[in-house]
């Protein structure tokens, strides 16, 4: 994995390490939302929510568009797909091994018959 990619992953994981930020992302998986709507969901100040949102923006996990006076937030799942990569190597390993196990066990059974 290249330097650039691991730097980006750092940002993504850093953004995800906070429960409030994860909850904001979870909220946006359902639908886009205005900053003010999200602020209303959490028992913390608008200022704190804005900081969390800026951090998620910097990590590329959400996008902001300005519609009239409203700031609308949209989830951007692409960096998460990148974050998935590091865990993907383990998945691939076990998928490959289970396929080989399948072939081994079923061939053995056939040979015994």
């Amino acid at each position: 994995m290249g330097e650039y990619q691991s730097d980006r992953l750092d940002g993504v994981f850093n953004a995800l390490c906070d429960p409030t930020r994860r909850a904001i992302l979870a909220r946006l998986t359902d639908a886009d939302a205005r900053v003010t709507d999200i602020a209303g969901d959490f028992p913390i100040s608008l200022n704190s929510i804005s900081k969390h949102i800026r951090m998620l923006e910097r990590a590329g996990l959400l996008r902001r568009s300005i519609v009239g006076r409203d700031h609308v937030l949209t989830l951007n799942a692409e960096p998460l797909a990148e974050a998935q990569l590091w865990i993907e190597k383990y998945r691939r390993f076990w998928e490959g091994r289970l396929a080989a196990l399948d072939a081994f066990v079923t061939n053995k059974k056939r040979n015994r018959k």
């Binding site: 691991s6 750092d10 850093n14 994860r22 909850a23 799942a77 196990l101």
Partner: protein, 150 residues
């Protein structure tokens, strides 16, 4: 609203339904000769396994690749034939950190569903010296990612 998304430590879950009895499949995990055959990913020329098939017993799976041997080592935690097998798993591909593999064998008529859960994956694989966020990363799990990537 609950501000926390429920999470568990970083894990990979892989499933496959195999047309064989649970006992046969279970035994293939603990038989060195069987392991030598199926624990051999594409780039591996040969695999040698040594197994002490009991709780607390150790194993070693050595995969020969072009650049040399890749050693996998661990200790069996659960040996419950033919339902569950659990063992620690440590290799250079886990950053030489101890991880945990649990294999469940679920009978489905004449077939068996095999579920491999690989847990406690080294979240620090990216960068081990930034402890500020690694604790959070530990809680980044597959379900969370699925929910978000969907």
């Amino acid at each position: 609203m609950n501000a926390a998304v429920p999470l568990s430590p970083a894990a990979v879950v892989v499933r496959r339904t195999i047309a064989a009895p649970a006992e046969d499949i279970f035994d293939a995990w603990l038989d060195p000769q069987a392991l030598a055959e199926w624990m051999r990913p594409g780039s591996v020329r040969s695999t040698v396994a040594r197994v002490e098939a009991r709780v607390g017993g150790s194993y070693e799976i050595i995969m020969q690749i072009e650049s040399g041997p890749v050693v996998h080592r661990g200790v069996y935690r659960i040996v419950d034939r033919p339902r569950r097998l659990s063992f620690t798993w440590k290799t250079e591909f886990t950053e030489n950190q101890e991880t945990l593999v649990t294999v469940d064998f679920i009978r489905q008529g004449l077939r068996t569903e095999v579920i491999v859960t690989h847990e406690q994956l080294p979240e620090s694989a990216m960068d081990s010296h930034r402890n500020g966020w690694t604790s959070g990363l530990q809680h980044l799990d597959e379900a969370c990612q699925k929910g978000l990537i969907g």
